[in-house]
Amino acid sequence: MRSKRPIAATASALALALALAACGANGNGNSGNGDGGGTSSGGAVTSLTVLDYYNNDPDKALVQKGLDACGTKLGISIQRETVPGDTLIQKVLQQASSKTLPDVLMLDNPDVQQIAATGALAPLNDLGLNADGVIQGMVDATSYQGKLYGLAPVTNTLALFYNKDMLAEAGVQPPKTWDELKAAAKKLTKPGRYGIAFNANATYEGSWQFLPAMWTNGGDETDLKSPQVAEALQLWVDLVQSGSASKSVINWTQGDAKDQFVAGKAAMMVNGPWQIPALQENPKVKWDVVTFPLNKPDQTPVAPLGGEAWTVPLNKDQAKQQKAADFVKCLNSDENELAWAKARFTLPTKTALLDQYAKDVPSMKAFAEQVKTARSRTGKLGDKWPDAAKVIYQAIQLALTGKASAQDAFKQASGG
């Protein structure tokens, strides 16, 4: 009797150890997706965590509607977290290092390739998703090394807003060429008012605003020292040096440009459709939008694509990863694209939806046209785009402050 005891004790200890090991394995499996509560024992996914940066209403509530609709459709609950736009990447980095990335992650489209390059995202092709019918520019932005890593239901771009009353008063037609733009801006400038407002600050935002001019004129980010790029920069320089645009553009954000426009201190502005809700709050300002003017009449306007893509971070829990991919697919259904585009003044990313959309929402007509030919910032350079963007905004700053001519600015900014 006595002699058997140690054996029993050993056996029970062994059983306990096995049980603990089993628990441990389970725990590891769950901590991988950073949620834990989502997977029930049978493997059925009951909830997904979502991270995005639409942290202000009305966007926040409008996006929530779309998320909830897809959640209901897939029979899951959504745990959503929103953070301010400029802190999203930092948040993602924190979550990545603590292995607590959400199941579905929203990223600004030029960031998708950079994050995909780190190996954090699941290729969507393997999960049954594709980008059929999506405008090429967006496909370029959300693909990395031939694989699709994100899908953007809606997009936006830049065009030229103008104040109808001011143009009518000055007898100016909305400009179609750069010469007309310069002449119009000059004519519309008077004490206390500038002809045009844009953003040329030393951030990626300043580079983004420069792209319509640069790309429309045939400039390319792979060859920033080309005469076409210099010509585009000369347009910015001319507008500022003639006094048609404020010298403060080198510090302005797009929000500042909009504020100037709303306050009647600028007759035109380069800006995007996300400003429309703010413009509608000021019914006194009568405005319209045209595509970005051309340098030569035979050019087509090429603007950059904005908007956010939804991605699926890699997840050890296959069922959950698949559900997250299904969720992204649902967000990119025709139905949701149109709903979000209409409610949030953005544009559907599927070519087939654009024409009907422009008819339904006339204020977005110029943007809908602009989007068809628009390019993505990361389409050619991929995760090297930030380097080029930096050279672009540095060159703009050098030229607008008179430290370099438009011809030399890019050379100087790129350190050669």
């Binding site: 950079q114 190996g119 600050n201 403060s248 510090n251 607008l400 350190g415």
Partner: protein, 310 residues
């Protein structure tokens, strides 16, 4: 019997006590040492290690940061903005501290005289210090705006200038404007410390000095300044350490622009880490900043030790 046990136990306790005493000393130091190691040692060591690694976006996802030796430091020194950032940091630090200190001293001397509402005014003077820096810089950004800023409007209204001054828009003026704002923010700190330093000087010294004919400027040179030197030393040392790493004010006002005219080591370090995601190079730059601050701290400690020895 009872007596004997007692004495023995006291003796044992004493013996143990001696050993315990040194243990107690260690135990007293331990929490502070642990706190130092965790809160100061770890970040510094981590920062040094990081500066020797290729610490990029990828590192956060894979946990891998290859060792690259001094490559980050080489990249830092060879960057085309490095020398400009060094010069700007020096100008920013020296300019800020010179004016903060002299204006602060003048105001402290002024408030030393008792006059009605002096206390209230002195506490109002603290306001710039109480405002969150990001609020101050946003406010100053609108004040310094070229076209509609209140400063240019006032100056043109007073016919002091014909053309609006491009405070934040011209590479040749922006650094001066940024230094000006930093001086404004730093004055309260200087006034407060210098005022308390002045209050420490006993009135008898001035009375005795008066008998010997030391009044006005001579009283300042022979009584006030020698007694204020210790406070001034601390103040200048802290000033350098605070100012050399100023980030939020510059980011809020100019973001380092226009055309990099207000880039300092601190803004460059921030940009490397959080815009370019080259955390290794960012760490190299911040190590340089830590090193510079450390130099000033050593300089200060040595000068005070000499003062104590005297």
């Amino acid at each position: 019997m009872a007596q004997a046990t007692l004495t023995r136990s006291v003796a044992v306790r004493r013996q143990r006590g001696r050993r315990g005493e040194s243990l107690t000393k260690v135990l007293f130091v331990l929490p502070a040492a642990l706190a130092m190691a965790a809160l100061f040692g770890y970040p510094v060591v981590k920062n040094v290690v990081m500066s020797l690694q290729d610490y990029s976006l990828r590192t956060f996802f894979t946990g891998q940061a290859p060792f690259v030796g001094l490559k980050n430091y080489a990249a830092m020194v060879s960057d085309q903005l490095f020398s400009q950032a060094m010069v700007n940091t020096a100008l920013f630090t020296i300019g800020s501290i010179a004016f903060q200190f002299s204006i602060g001293l003048a105001l402290a001397l002024f408030f030393r005289r008792n006059f009605p509402l002096g206390g209230l005014l002195r506490s109002l003077l603290l306001l710039p210090w109480l405002l969150p820096l990001i609020v101050s810089s946003a406010t100053w950004r609108s004040i310094l705006e070229q076209d509609n800023g209140i400063l240019n409007r006032t100056l043109t209204g007073l016919h002091l200038i014909d053309q609006p001054v491009p405070w934040l828009n011209s590479p040749s003026v922006a650094l001066i404007a940024v230094i000006g704002v930093n001086i404004w923010i730093g004055i309260p700190f200087n006034v407060t410390l210098l005022y308390s330093g002045l209050s420490e000087i006993p009135d008898e010294l001035y009375e005795a000095g008066q008998l010997d004919g030391a009044t006005g400027r001579r009283a300042f040179v022979h009584i006030t300044w020698p007694n204020l030197r210790a406070v001034a030393g601390v103040l200048l040392m802290l000033g350098v350490v605070y100012t050399i790493k100023v980030l939020d004010i510059i980011l809020g006002l100019t973001g380092g622009g226009p055309a990099n005219a207000t880039q300092t080591l601190a803004t460059q370090s921030y940009e490397r880490s959080f815009v370019d995601f080259k955390f290794g190079e960012g760490a190299a730059l911040s190590n340089l900043l830590i090193g510079l601050s450390f130099l000033f701290a050593i300089f200060y400690l040595r000068s005070t030790r000499r003062a104590v020895d005297e």
